[in-house]
Symmetry: C2
Subunit: 127 residues, 2 copies
Amino acid sequence: MLRPDPPKWDLLRQECPTREVIARVGAKWSFLIIVSLATADGPTRYSDLLNSVEGIASKALASTLRALERDGLVSRTKKPTLPPTVEYSLTPLGDSLAEVLAHLQRWTYDNIADIKEHQRFYDGLSS
Amino acid sequence: MLRPDPPKWDLLRQECPTREVIARVGAKWSFLIIVSLATADGPTRYSDLLNSVEGIASKALASTLRALERDGLVSRTKKPTLPPTVEYSLTPLGDSLAEVLAHLQRWTYDNIADIKEHQRFYDGLSS
DNA sequence: CTGGATCCGCTAGGATACTG
DNA sequence: CAGTATCCTAGCGGATCCAG
């Protein structure tokens, strides 16, 4: 084996490709869409996502879905019905990511009160 | 107890306050700064962060640090030396978040090759 | 050294309208 | 139903200069 050791990535380096992934996950709607797909039972239709993820615009949903699909996190299945129905679901890769993100989601649920408290305190100092 | 059950947040709802937290964590530089602070041993100076997080601009670092401090994730300690030295470190709350984010970081390291492969495939389809 | 102040370009993303 | 096409704007973030 020429490269027995996989390259050790370093997020802090500018050229690290994982930065792109972090950016994608951190993009405004990615997280919510992944959560929605992960908590839904089975494939989810475009219009259902549009309703599920409150506040998202059609354009944002479409472009984010395409980006996630490009990364291999989401799979798109078009059924030749009339009118056409398109279903989205997480790939195994997307599932594994969703699992990690679920921890983050849980963390925010657990600590949102604390954070809000800190914010109020911080903002109060300048009054 | 009047409220034995803490409110059940739902990220998918528009008014859910945790969306703000996700946005903050997902902001361009938050993740990297937290990682940098978490992997450093002990408090880290402003200039060290500036060097550690490659590509970040002074303004972005300052504003992101302030936001993280406001959320109670980062603590700022100013030492009255001359010239002044300021040190940043994670609060216990920030530490607990860093732990969660470490899993995400690990995930990206483990799966970046896979993702890149998917991207190449996806992009190749339209050529 | 640690930022704040200022200017400014860029683009993600919102609103709206339209199509297969 | 599942998007695309256009237009448009707020604001993030970069560069530079300045200050305590």
